[in-house]
């Protein structure tokens, strides 16, 4: 895609006319603020940044991009960890952070209607006084936006019981890649027609931009009980997790940390986890008091049966917060024990945990790269933290090899290359390890239906997207239209 400086200047003028001069950024220094999302290893300065304040402005920006043939990328709070909101050098970054009104909290409908820039936690804060909350809770929930959550189908510790974003979004208004405003779903369930809402959630900005989101609110549980169990090894903690699930208990969360992750957390936030633990589990149950009471005793017993050497039960919210503090600070905490690290995000079937953790340990030893494990044990969502020092020759490469090998392990065990962070720019190259060409081509059929011109967040999710005019089938060599200079592969 080649867009000239003149074209971009004209587009900048068109955007200023459409949404106001103070809502368009073209100054090089100011643009640098937006050069990456939460994954700082990729940096691209966008050609222009637009900050629409409502759906009509957002649609106007997209239409201007379409008219100019310029790609656009949506961005919420910029906390994504896969480069999903990485700007396009010749494109417009559409930032939704000025669209941050909670339009309605309707407990009687069990819904809230919000603009995409609204912070995740703000929805719960608005709903709490009515006795409700918004269940999907990415670790970044204090700063991430709902629009970003919808784009990435973000998860969190409580997905095991409550599902992730897609299970809690009942409607969106979106700007299609053509610049049309379309509503899908709403307050009532099961709108007739294809479940385009289900396809849109998690499409990482490649099928359009959400301008309004209707979310499902969940009743605040009557009772929450949390325990922390310390084990000598991750194998024992894994066995305890399996035993809990096998007993028919569905906890709100089961989180595990290994020794290295624990020591990092201790160094950072002094969470006071049991000394000498090779692994800790945090198990949280919530629901009606009589159910929680019955199952909590069972969970405690199953942890002891699987050789937990210490079990602590949170007596109040403050103690529960302390249990979680170590877990929630783990990602940042490894910064204290390693100059650089990669936060990996892969998923395996829960029963494969012992084998996969052992293999990760071997990979770590073989390559001389430390790996700290912090993860959602209940649903097999691993977050290995691959530690390295970029100033040491070859370590960066070896860390990336280990990181990639862990994803291969996940795929080999029937899992996924991402459980909550998304594919984005970072993992597009891994998609063929999980999906065949036919699988990816079929996904492209959907993308082409929404975005025939290929302007919505090009280069993300798919390693080599096909031309939308192309007949499905295997790609062979350069497309004739491309060779003739009539079309480009995005």
């Amino acid at each position: 895609m080649s867009t000239t400086t003149t074209d971009l200047a004209a587009l900048g003028a068109a955007l200023r006319a459409a949404i106001g001069a103070d809502r368009v950024i073209s100054d090089r220094q100011e643009l640098r603020t937006y050069e990456c999302d939460g994954l700082a290893q990729y940096k691209v300065v966008p050609a222009l940044v637009a900050l629409p304040v409502d759906a009509a402005q957002c649609a106007a920006v997209v239409r201007a991009c379409v008219a100019a043939g310029v790609p656009f990328v949506a961005r919420g709070s910029g906390t994504g960890l896969s480069g999903g909101a990485l700007p396009h050098a010749d494109g417009v970054l559409i930032v939704t952070s000025r669209m941050r009104d909670i339009l309605e909290v309707a407990p009687a409908d069990e819904r809230a209607v919000v603009q995409p820039g609204v912070i995740n936690l703000a929805v719960s804060r608005a709903a709490n006084p009515h006795g409700w909350y918004y269940a999907p809770d990415p670790s970044s929930q204090q700063i991430c936006s709902i629009g970003g959550n919808v784009a990435e189908n973000s998860g969190g510790a409580h997905c095991l019981k409550y599902g992730f974003t897609t299970n809690h979004v009942t409607g969106v208004e979106l700007v299609t890649p053509d610049g049309d405003l379309v509503r899908l779903g709403g307050r009532a369930p099961d709108a007739p027609g294809y479940d385009l809402l289900g396809a849109f959630v998690g499409s990482e900005g490649t099928l359009g931009i959400a301008t309004e989101v209707t979310v499902r609110l969940t009743r605040l549980p009557e009772s929450v009980r949390t325990l922390l169990a310390a084990f000598e090894s991750t194998d024992q903690a894994g066995a305890a997790t399996s035993a809990i699930i096998a007993a028919g208990v569905v906890p709100a969360a089961v989180e595990m940390m290994d020794a290295l992750a624990i020591s990092a957390a201790e160094a950072a936030v002094h969470c006071g986890y049991p000394a000498g633990a090779g692994a800790v589990l945090i198990v949280e149950l919530d629901g009606p008091e009589p159910e929680v009471a019955a199952q909590f005793d069972q969970v405690e017993r199953l942890c002891r049966d699987n050789r937990a050497f210490e079990i602590r039960i949170a007596v109040d919210d403050a103690e529960r917060a302390l249990f979680w503090k170590g877990r929630k600070s783990a990602f940042a905490a490894v910064g204290r024990i390693s100059p650089d690290y990669i936060v990996q995000d892969g998923v395996i079937p829960r029963t494969a945990l012992p084998e996969v953790l052992r293999r990760i340990g071997e990979l770590s030893a073989e390559r001389g790269i430390r790996v700290a494990n912090v993860f959602h044990a209940g649903d097999g969502n691993l977050h290995p933290l691959v530690l390295f020092d970029a100033s040491v020759d070859g370590q960066t490469e070896r860390a990336e090899e280990v990181s990639g090998a862990i994803l291969d392990l996940c795929v080999r065990h029937g899992g996924s290359i991402t459980g909550e962070h998304g594919v984005g720019m970072d993992k597009a190259k891994y998609m063929p390890r999980m999906f065949t060409d036919d699988d990816l081509d079929t996904m492209q059929l959907l993308r082409c239906a929404f975005d025939p011109a290929g302007l919505a967040n090009p280069g993300k999710v798919f390693p080599t997207p096909r031309l939308c005019g192309e007949v499905p089938g295997r790609r062979k060599g350069v497309h004739p239209a491309q060779e003739a200079g009539l079309a480009e592969v995005f």
Binding site: T176, V182, P288, V347, P349, T436, T442, P472
Partner: protein
């Protein structure tokens, strides 16, 4: 091409079915109709590869194809505009994998829901999908996104389906999702094909998340005067801390209504919550470990008119009252039953009802549901009623849906005309 030539080509594509499925292709007989439209051929592939070969052959031969599972919902949706080949999934059945420790299963589309339930029960697990019509298959439940009472706790097929194998109209096999619950790699095509009435591809295998079978269950029922009162009472239950698995209203055409709350969990927990529910519903509420009559069944029988009405939750009592009033106005007996706890109701009218009056009732129900952010869809109706009413009503995003259909099935070969907007 003469008919037997087509048959030969299809048989060659299927390349023999093996000892348990010796001839997967045959000429259609009088029973092989879809919503009244006769087919010419029937093929019953036993696996994804054979299904793909058959769909490739159908594409080469320009045959229009409609998928049939248990046949329990063949009278749902509009009749196909064109039909040559029925792809029968009854041989495409069986559990491919049940990883009990991971709470997932992979099953072939033609597997009957009741047979799967029996298999999973051995491990004290369940696929938490209700089966309102006995004999239905997994594929049929997914294709229609049919739901029953327990969707309140467990969600619907779209929430439980975590991976899918589908064969496109051109015979290409594609997978999406996988065998782990937490997975955000690529587009969620499993959601796209759920409720698509087989117009985007043939689903051959489904991966589902499972749930443990609850150790105990209790149904707490209270009878009330009318449907709207039942709706209000349901609202009271929602506002309490009972975490029900289902919250249903049942308002038969003859009058009166009932609210039933299903509680699932540990024996001690269920006993305590059932007692709390009984107190909340009122003194004459009764608790039982048996489901009440008609539980989880649609409020209509074969040949009747069946509708699905949806609403924002606060609008459920009003919708129940409006629906009853509209039926009275048009002198039609209307049975209402459904999930007041999630805003999905089903409604039945006898198939003998005057089509003109039914048309007026559907218009009134569309107005009533639209007022509470919902929709009224006619799922099934006799031909005279189909001729009078638009089955689907207004559909948001229809232009995008047409574009999706065009990409997946450019020749409109799969169940043409069955779905919204003539898709």
């Amino acid at each position: 091409m003469p008919a037997d030539g087509v048959l030969g080509r299809l048989r060659a594509a299927a390349a023999g079915g093996g000892p348990d499925n010796p001839d997967p292709v045959r000429v259609a007989d009088a029973h092989d109709t879809i919503a009244g439209v006769p087919a010419r051929y029937v093929a019953a592939p036993r696996d994804t590869a054979q299904a793909a070969a058959l769909l490739r052959a159908a594409a080469d031969l320009d045959l229009a194809v409609t998928v049939r599972g248990g046949g329990t919902r063949q009278d749902w949706g509009s009749p196909p505009r064109r039909l040559d080949l029925i792809l029968d999934t009854t041989a495409l059945a069986g559990v491919v994998e049940h990883a009990a420790g991971d709470l997932i299963t992979v099953v072939r589309a033609g597997t009957r829901l009741d047979e799967l339930a029996a298999t999973l029960a051995g491990a004290r697990q369940q696929l938490a999908l209700d089966a309102p019509l006995p004999g239905g298959t997994i594929g049929g439940a997914v294709a229609t996104n049919a739901s029953g009472p327990r969707r309140m706790l467990y969600g619907t097929a779209r929430d439980l389906l975590i991976g899918v194998t589908l064969v496109r109209a051109d015979g290409v096999v594609a997978h999406a999702g996988g065998k782990v619950v937490k997975n955000v790699a690529g587009y969620d095509l499993a959601k796209l094909v759920t409720g698509a009435y087989g117009t985007l591809g043939l689903v051959t295998e489904c991966a589902f998340r499972l749930h443990p079978l609850p150790a105990a269950a209790a149904y707490v029922t209270r009878r009330v005067g009318d449907a709207a009162e039942a709706g209000r009472l349901a609202g009271t239950v929602r506002a309490a801390q009972l975490a029900p698995a289902a919250l249903e209203v049942d308002a038969p055409a003859g009058g009166g209504a009932a609210v039933t709350v299903l509680l699932e969990g540990t024996p001690a927990g269920v006993a305590a919550r059932a007692e709390a529910t009984r107190r909340l519903l009122g003194a004459d509420a009764t608790a039982s470990d048996e489901a009440p009559d008609g539980w989880g069944r649609y409020p209509w029988r074969g040949g009747d008119i069946g509708l699905k009405l949806t609403a924002a939750l606060s609008g459920v009592p009003g919708l129940l009252a409006d629906a009853r009033a509209a039926a009275d106005r048009h002198a039609l007996p209307l049975a209402l039953r459904g999930s007041a706890g999630v805003g999905v109701l089903h409604a039945g009218v006898p198939g003998t009802a005057d089509p003109e009056r039914v048309g007026c009732l559907v218009d009134a129900l569309r107005a009533a549901t639209a007022a509470v952010a919902g929709h009224a869809v006619v799922l099934t109706a006799p031909p005279a009623v189909r001729d009078r009413v638009d089955l689907w009503g207004p559909v948001d995003g229809l232009a995008l849906m047409r574009r999706v259909k065009q990409r997946f099935d450019p020749d409109a070969r799969l169940a043409p005309g069955r779905f919204v907007g003539g898709i």
